[in-house]
Symmetry: D2
Subunit: 442 residues, 4 copies
Amino acid sequence: MSSSSPSLAPVLAAPAPTSLATHYQAVRTQSVALVQPLLPEDTVVQPTLDVSPPKWHLAHTTWFWETFLLKNYLPGYEVFHPEYAFLFNSYYNSLGSRVNRADRGTLSRPPLADVYRYRTYVDEHMATLLARLAELPPAATELLELGLHHEQQHQELLATDIKYILSTNPLAPGYLTDEQLAMSNEKSEPAANSLPTAAWLPVPGGIYAVGHQQEGFSFDNELPVHEVLVAPFELQNRLVTNGDFLRFIEAGGYRQFQFWLGEGWDLVNRESWTAPLYWSQNADGQWLRYGPTGLAPLNLAAPVSHISFYEADAYAQWAGARLPTEAEWEVAARHFEATPQGGNWLETGHFDPQPLAANADPTQCHQLLGDCWEWTYSAYHPYPGYQRAAGALGEYNGKFMLNQLVLRGGSCATPESHIRLTYRNFFHADKRWQFTGLRLAR
Amino acid sequence: MSSSSPSLAPVLAAPAPTSLATHYQAVRTQSVALVQPLLPEDTVVQPTLDVSPPKWHLAHTTWFWETFLLKNYLPGYEVFHPEYAFLFNSYYNSLGSRVNRADRGTLSRPPLADVYRYRTYVDEHMATLLARLAELPPAATELLELGLHHEQQHQELLATDIKYILSTNPLAPGYLTDEQLAMSNEKSEPAANSLPTAAWLPVPGGIYAVGHQQEGFSFDNELPVHEVLVAPFELQNRLVTNGDFLRFIEAGGYRQFQFWLGEGWDLVNRESWTAPLYWSQNADGQWLRYGPTGLAPLNLAAPVSHISFYEADAYAQWAGARLPTEAEWEVAARHFEATPQGGNWLETGHFDPQPLAANADPTQCHQLLGDCWEWTYSAYHPYPGYQRAAGALGEYNGKFMLNQLVLRGGSCATPESHIRLTYRNFFHADKRWQFTGLRLAR
Amino acid sequence: MSSSSPSLAPVLAAPAPTSLATHYQAVRTQSVALVQPLLPEDTVVQPTLDVSPPKWHLAHTTWFWETFLLKNYLPGYEVFHPEYAFLFNSYYNSLGSRVNRADRGTLSRPPLADVYRYRTYVDEHMATLLARLAELPPAATELLELGLHHEQQHQELLATDIKYILSTNPLAPGYLTDEQLAMSNEKSEPAANSLPTAAWLPVPGGIYAVGHQQEGFSFDNELPVHEVLVAPFELQNRLVTNGDFLRFIEAGGYRQFQFWLGEGWDLVNRESWTAPLYWSQNADGQWLRYGPTGLAPLNLAAPVSHISFYEADAYAQWAGARLPTEAEWEVAARHFEATPQGGNWLETGHFDPQPLAANADPTQCHQLLGDCWEWTYSAYHPYPGYQRAAGALGEYNGKFMLNQLVLRGGSCATPESHIRLTYRNFFHADKRWQFTGLRLAR
Amino acid sequence: MSSSSPSLAPVLAAPAPTSLATHYQAVRTQSVALVQPLLPEDTVVQPTLDVSPPKWHLAHTTWFWETFLLKNYLPGYEVFHPEYAFLFNSYYNSLGSRVNRADRGTLSRPPLADVYRYRTYVDEHMATLLARLAELPPAATELLELGLHHEQQHQELLATDIKYILSTNPLAPGYLTDEQLAMSNEKSEPAANSLPTAAWLPVPGGIYAVGHQQEGFSFDNELPVHEVLVAPFELQNRLVTNGDFLRFIEAGGYRQFQFWLGEGWDLVNRESWTAPLYWSQNADGQWLRYGPTGLAPLNLAAPVSHISFYEADAYAQWAGARLPTEAEWEVAARHFEATPQGGNWLETGHFDPQPLAANADPTQCHQLLGDCWEWTYSAYHPYPGYQRAAGALGEYNGKFMLNQLVLRGGSCATPESHIRLTYRNFFHADKRWQFTGLRLAR
């Protein structure tokens, strides 16, 4: 499907960063690598409001470096193009007006080639800045780390947005060929017989500190560290699988209101949902799922993904269980990290469209945190004592702290150096285009 | 404005219930009393989706008794009309299809007179049932208590819906005349000089039990009792007042994005909000508010009400404070109930359209819990261990536990016997037609 | 006003006007008579944008007299209420701002009783003005005639809006009881065996003058008289009947795109139309129609009504015929008026909810012009040389001359003195709540 | 495909067809030439429902040949791709389901390169078919002519859609560089002093035959020829110019309801229109228009274009004139073709984005029929006796014959061999993205 024989080398190369400059280069390279299997046409479209054009992601992440680093810390820096701030500002009111989000997919210009020129221009100036980093105030280094994590967030969005763009096309093209997929990662999908038996792992109650407590980077929404009281609970050792979820479907789960929250039931009926996003049945009734190489039979042993919070919660209701809170999830993760008992939980290295993540060492992929983001029944609200930063970066996280749910873990599309035990991902309850699944609690 | 000289006697008469039968009669009488100042035409309209026609409230509450008590516990009971279950079921999927909520205001029939006949028919049969209550299983008594609280909830909705219906009319008719208002309650609105100085009241941290712990009725969403860890915090001794809020407006609060959550900022701009609901400025710039007798000058000493969560949160941001969580609120309420220090907090007996509540003894009105529902920054989620009941009543609360915020306290429109320290009221963040205000925390 | 024993006297009394003053009184009385069988609640609601509350019609027609006659020609006249111009102006930009049309059904005030007081106030002052009419300039008499025809237009809208309001109620109440219906008009519905055989009546081609050519009132849109060239054509002697239309339905007419205009086909699918408005099938498959006494079996001999232009056109396509143009219709009407051959055409005195029209002499009802408005395939555009009048009345007709179709004839709901051979009624192609049917041409 | 050095050769080469095969080749080449200055990204987007992606036009026109010619007349023909019928069927219900029109801009695949491969594949097979054309039934030749005119219609849409796509981009890129524009056509824009003085040309009344009467191709909607009676009228010798229209704007034309049809006035206010599409004012108040090379000063001598019917009609009302009917327009065009007096009318060879038309001999461009489509006040209805063809082609024109207005003439974007005196173009009254202007009548 490739237009000009893209090398997959960049997809495969994600060396461990040895320094910030090296890490900068690796992250920037990886963004481009994700887009390389696409055609220019694929980088333009926005089939639904949530999905931004890949070209936009490549430019927006570049604008971030320009706006927060180069303009502030590289004397004499001149912006690449005076209109790009209008075109590629995502949502920062502090930074002025911008293209309406719904119109991102109507903009053919600048073309992909110009966006690459923009990236090169900014990378060259960033190289100059990185060489002088030691001389700059610590805030510059902090912004650099933020920029890297920001770009990694958009790498995950690139993966999910590309998947959506290609999947909604009636031609259902694959992102990779079978050969490319085989090359990209030796780890095969989990076989049914490798699946651990579902089991409940007990976690003792108590007062626990939650939030980012180690060295290193975290987003402001992971702070401050604070104590929570958690009652004893149990968590399953593995994610709910496609096979598990199929039983829910076959039991009429999508047709029985009593398992559903009211807004979820309305949604299921309005949208005529009968299965997770990307699932379909062929004429023989066989279940297929759209994945990296196009349509393929559903792997019953893989964790269910691309479900909304409503579907996760309805499944849990049907199963006589519940979703964990984010505090429970974090407490359990800490608990099992330190105990042999955790082994079971850690065994859940299943994944679905793993090649999207393109990790250099797939054997280490996802060991800790699973292959899907896990919906929790916790609202994305500020931690006690949270304060929005002053200026534009105060808009980064704080203004979204309502009407969304926290997801924990990470997915096959999350860059590995971006995964953290305290990471608070968040989406509205109806969203399905992310790699979202669930783990039962009780 | 009255069509046939309604006596206000029922409005004034709300005797303390001495028994369930007496209480049943008092509650049923009070619903009718609330509608009595209206004309038949006023009872039909639905000016916005949230606001149900008063006629619908009178019928729906009656349908509740018929459906849950009479059909189950009165042998041989025949429903008043076979179509009323379709017309007056609110949201119970368990009980079949029903009129679309958005269409309630398109239905002129049954007319108000028939709804009153329906009420009389059901009350007569309920009298029979109440006389035999001791012979019935305990579940019948539980349903009776639930039905009373259900009807009281709709009394508050009647008050707020009537206010909305009359206020949106270009004629801005009052609900009561000045004379009726004067008769209905001797307590005057707070004078500016009676206003306590705002002060911060400290509450010690610790592990607290929250949830309904006393004897008597509570909704299922107030259970189970469970422990929470609360860090030390401070709460203000009084609600934010109209005068306080006016300073926020005059400081440009509605025009500065940095105080607002993202969805709130979009809403403010989309709806061109510049003040709380029911506020307006006359040609001289004087601030007016729509209240029980129509338009009147804004009382700066009264608590601000009819604000959305977004406005409450933006105010708190502007004031350098925050909204309390629902746990903090409940902990503080218990704390101050038991301490002399609480006196300040308890002094906030301000109110706006108090006559709607029609309490028998206004001197006792609102002493504990304020005059407005107080927005908390807590999502309306199930308490740990919460289980939805089986059957239709499982739909009463549980299916709404997402995307709404908890409000605590009670308002001038809340029947006094309906106010509870553990009561969890809940609305979406954009709603303003309830008596909703805020109290600052830090 | 009472629902239990409505007097039908006013419904029946519509004496032939002997003078303008008498005619004024008769017309004004008839508007009230149409509303008399309703309850106050029925007069408030607006179940769809096109349908105005009956209370609004009663007030708007009164505002018309006040605005165009009393304010201009009765010295010292004081308006009944200063806000009524805002409330009851329909669409005259010349006369200032007004209630949004979509909000008419949200307004409970002024109540029906106040609207009657308004009518009485205006009628009393109109009596004074009518007594002096001879002294006033001729323009006053012209406005008086316009006002009478304006009110008659709203009488037809009252009939169709009331029908819609009652029909959409799940209780499907009748407008009249069977007894009232029997009293109101001796003429029974047509029996199947009374139905004339459909036949084609030829009309010779030629140059014809069209437009209002007689003495007496016409709207400005019926002028100027102008010549048109019409090719020879044939018209059917009777309207398409319910029985005819049922054959179209049973032949799959609503499921075959090839009979439909593109926008009609989209509409049929979007709205899931399978039959005319007010038709339904009971559990036994019997066809019913909602009419003056509620649901009743469909009369196959009656003309089909309550169909959109799209349905009329699709029927004609299916039948291998077409709709006439408005010029053809007018030419044919003049032609058959003057020829014995026309007798067949004139035999179509069928009607459906005839009591709504409340004609004094039902034997003369509709002889000339049929019982349904007949869709023509002519756009409602200005006649050659048409000029909008100056001032507010220039908005009466001219600004609507686009995107609507002309209907000719008249319906059982059209006051008889309002029917004219040159009358140009007009509606958008998708409207069905008027008494609209068709007659085939070829 | 390259953006840097587009060859304009194909744009300039449009040799007069000497045979159908040659004409086929010329038309097909011209479609590609129109897209050549674009980047692949430009060919994907759909910024508004009416505007289809250029890539879609290139594929849909190809699908038309495949579907109507190759599948029917080339034995053994195999379709290029089995899914393309779903992707590129525009609106033919006869030919099955298809992509929702609103989703055309969400489809990145097939990429432009594949669409070109599709075109080549079909052209090669068409060459075979064209070589055998003499042996095929006459219907094949008729379909060939229809296909050529179909593709020419899409060439005009390509021009207008490309203009819209580029204009809505905040970068406002030009379609051509100044140099390319200069090369493409020697004829310069009209100078102000070359503008003929507006004058009224009288046309005598009488019975005229209208409709396609010559040899050669016409669409079915131009038939049957039929007689109309036209009263004497006058038409202006030239189109209304930008300068004329600016006087309307400066006189407050967009702010005074009395010039507007009701639906037009609502639209103007809802969309905040203050000028034709593509007009803007810079900071100095100078009027600019978006054209082939991007933004440029408004040429007051050029005909106003990109106005809706509502704006055309409002201008005419303001000017004390009216729009012609389509019959008047056609009668006048025939009249002036044959009279020296017509010279004035024919002098209006003004044009705006003329390079889009890319005519071989620009000196002959537009002499007869003006540079903008001219709105008439005639509904697009069937001519008397019109019959839709059987089969899919019956959907070509007939199903659109409602709620649209006829435009006559042709525009700078209309291929010259596609312009006909009897041509009935049609659009909804609110559309502005075509080259639409007006000529006054009285």
